[in-house]
């Protein structure tokens, strides 16, 4: 495919590039044909800094299913983190059910 499926989000943090860590400004999520994974179309995640050279990039290519698992894991971790943050601030939030061990898909 030659898709135009591209989502861009502001990102604050750091990522590990080819040689070293670098600060981030953006994360880009795209769906198009893979450049490296031996797959057809993939979800590509790019983390980069808009003012640094192109080599300051951290990237992954994932199958759609892997991307869904990652999305779910992110959601669980974020929910748990927000609960912790609420506790720290003395707020009473309903407990969030947390999965403590990673769930691996059967090979």
């Amino acid at each position: 495919m030659c898709t135009s499926i591209v989502e861009i989000a502001a990102a604050e943090g750091m990522a590990k590039g080819r040689d070293d860590w670098f600060p981030l400004t953006h994360a880009v999520v795209a769906y198009d044909h893979a450049r490296h994974a031996l797959l057809g179309d993939v979800i590509t995640l790019d983390f980069f800094h808009q003012d640094l050279p192109p080599s300051s990039r951290s990237a992954v290519e994932l199958t759609l299913d892997s991307a869904k698992h990652l999305q779910a894991a992110l959601s669980r971790a974020i929910a748990a983190a927000e609960f912790e943050e609420a506790e720290v601030r003395g707020q009473t939030e309903p407990p969030v059910r947390r999965r403590m061990t990673p769930v691996l898909e059967p090979v």
């Binding site: 495919m1 030659c2 898709t3 591209v6 795209a30 044909h33 192109p54 080599s55």
Partner: protein
Amino acid sequence: MSYIGMTCEMVTIKGEGGTPIQAYTAKPAGKGPFPGVVLVHHLPGWSEYYIGETRKLAHYGYMAICANLYERAGQGHPDDVAAKVRADGGIPDAQMVGDTAAAVQWMRAQPGHNGKVAVMGSCSGGRHAFIYACTKTDVDACIDLWGGRVVMGKEELNAKTPVSPIEMTPKLSCPLLGIFGNDDRAPSPEQVNQHEEALKKAGKTYEFHRYDGAGHGIWYHHRPLFRLEQATDSWGKTMAFLRKHVG
């Protein structure tokens, strides 16, 4: 049986707005005259695949040039540069036309050139090649290899891609060859149908070849998208098209 040698060099050409951009060139050994092919690289950028295709065309007797349309995004691995371009919303169609025009001009200025030029690209490069052949009148043939987004909805248009390429069809200035996989979804078989209808309506010279059991990137021998039977057949059709229209 014998093979001809070739000379490969990097050159710098003046792209859109006078911006210096790099281009990879390959020339068959000998005095010629040789026909020319201007390659327009794909969405993954000015990649090793395209450098190899440039050499392959010289092997088949064509002077070839492939310009780095992503030059302005900075230097680095083609993947990284292409990712930066993607994050920036791609390159403007008008800029691509200016950069490709510089490659065509370079070709026409070469000693031993036969005066004929084809423009050829795959994926986004197929779309770009078609736009070029509809915008300029200095090429003699156009090859669109599975170019997506030739048919664009109004919601997809923006400052960088202001016109759906299919709307440019009446201005196509040369014969067109299209190679498509019927399992592709960008372009989908329905979009290829629409494009073919537009070509018929405008009375253009074209030939489309569509392959079952293939999707996008039929020739990409380094990717799982590669389809041996369909790639072999469509390469033969491409060579025949080039011989007919540019020599």
